[in-house]
Subunit: 377 residues, 2 copies
Amino acid sequence: MAINHDFETHIRQAAAILRSWGMTPANAEQTAKVLGWADLRGVESHGIAMLVEYNERRQTRPINMQAVPKIVRQTPVSALVDGDGGLGHVPASFAMALAVEKAKASGVGMVSVRNSGHFGALGCFTSMAAEADLIGIATTSVFGIRVPPTGGAAARFGTDPWSFAAPGDEGKPFLLDMATTTVASGKVRNKVVERQQMPPGWGFDKAGKPTLDPSEVMQGGFLSPLGGTPEGASHKGYGLAVMVNILSSCLSGSTLITDPMHSKQPKGLDVGHFFMAFDPGQFRDVADFRADVKQLCDDLRATPPVDLAKPVLVAGDPERAVMAEREKTGIPIGPGLLRRLHEIARENGAEWFFQHPSTNNTEQLRPIYLSVNPSIS
Amino acid sequence: MAINHDFETHIRQAAAILRSWGMTPANAEQTAKVLGWADLRGVESHGIAMLVEYNERRQTRPINMQAVPKIVRQTPVSALVDGDGGLGHVPASFAMALAVEKAKASGVGMVSVRNSGHFGALGCFTSMAAEADLIGIATTSVFGIRVPPTGGAAARFGTDPWSFAAPGDEGKPFLLDMATTTVASGKVRNKVVERQQMPPGWGFDKAGKPTLDPSEVMQGGFLSPLGGTPEGASHKGYGLAVMVNILSSCLSGSTLITDPMHSKQPKGLDVGHFFMAFDPGQFRDVADFRADVKQLCDDLRATPPVDLAKPVLVAGDPERAVMAEREKTGIPIGPGLLRRLHEIARENGAEWFFQHPSTNNTEQLRPIYLSVNPSIS
């Protein structure tokens, strides 16, 4: 059974583990906050469960836990930031804060980040722009490769996500955070576990042919770009993934995802990001802009639903509903993940703030931490 | 049988018809060039065939053929442009040229356009940025409404396209121009004509349920957002369409697509656009950036294909292949469209530069001009 902890405890625990890996207290705090942001909103694939992945990753790759992001060059509307070979949460937070600052001063700020790493949920950063009454756009390159281009029989992309945010109704920004794949690998894995076929368009076998068998995807096959198949317009998901790599890697000078040295550079996780914030007040009164965004979102929510039990939602709504619940009841952590985090804390001498995992728990533990986003695996 | 004309004649003919509607010679020339840009690249849904649609539209809507786009307000990095209630080709060309100019001077230019109209192919404008060694991004709102939000049983969106362009190999920019629907309505109509089922995910019946029957889509049903179904992640295509409307309509102050007054305002076609250009040289040496974009695109083209007869392509490649052919052989126009254009020219007293349509042509004429993008219909 999952055990709930409040948000503060959740962050304190993650920060303690990160400090035990040699991360500075300030960076550990910020990294833990970004992970907690995702868990609080139910995006558990990008929350504290990532510590299990990061712990494995740091055994095989030199990740700089003392990393301090640096501005390499800048103009009033742009900057290139070097992530100093660490995890991505701190440089990404720094970069979007810088983009917001430039947008407030000059109307727009665009920050390219190189030499960074996995940073949790992309929406955490675009939402910083929306909270500052700005429009936010962000992309990131990724570590793991699982997706072929349309018509291809070899993987060339990862999840390669986009995020967009815009302020509207107070506390209810439009917030889209989407991989350019049809689904994440965790969903395919769940179908294997449940011995179910996949819906059409989720993945390909190792020859690049569409398949409904999830085990073919997991055994040498591929995830599909959004659109699923050529007939379903997968060239659009593929095209969006190319643009993510142009913005994240080509612009920052990070190693191309198609380069044989991708994910094999001598230092760091070799990931690039792109962050942008801009002021709608350059074009209209911000209050009018926000009123229109609110109206658009409200009109969409008022669309007659196909299923009366499932009202139409707008991007950001599902996560806000989970957040409202978890702010009251805390953030649940399943027994498998709790035990794994406890092991990691013990192995590294980190303080333990969560409840102790039950030692005589004989129930079958669901390996939650295995269903993470492939962007890190 | 289709008749070919060279590019110059193609533009001269379109401009003559536009002048016969009262358009100024300069605006007619620019509008014809934008339409010809699409036809030269095989994007016939957005080329000279649109004149048939525009001719119908101007019967029912007051379109200002004398429109002169005006800058309403601007900063070194931004501008709001009013399209003056005309067609969109001239204000869109003006706006992207302004964005390019600002990007050259200040690193980035963002131009929001209101009170504009249909403007041909979106990629025509982002490619202006790529030709100037800049990255281009553009979106536009649309006139026609055919697409429900995910889970909805009423149409709230049109084709709502995005375009992205980036310079790489000389003359071979990355150029993505994509509707946020799975397919255009023309493809569904073709399935009706051919009495074939659609692939899964193309559309919905009038209750919003997925269907494989194209006639159900055409008779009160809907086109799907990219992703096709909720299981295929249509919330991503839907989310991208919302962001198009935020950038194109909320930012410019154009009537929201969900507003009952959408497409019913007393003047013009009531369409908003968003154009952006920015300089990769703010972050890296432009030559290094372009070399990386070229390398990425070349690596993708070198991906082992699923079908040896179909090599992997990059966005922009198919249109360049058509252009190379048509620069030699001219642009084909089918007999149905040729006859219809001839009628329009005669009715309005426009000069005729194309070959005369065969008067004793008894073959069944395929109504090419009906399969246009629904964004105008």
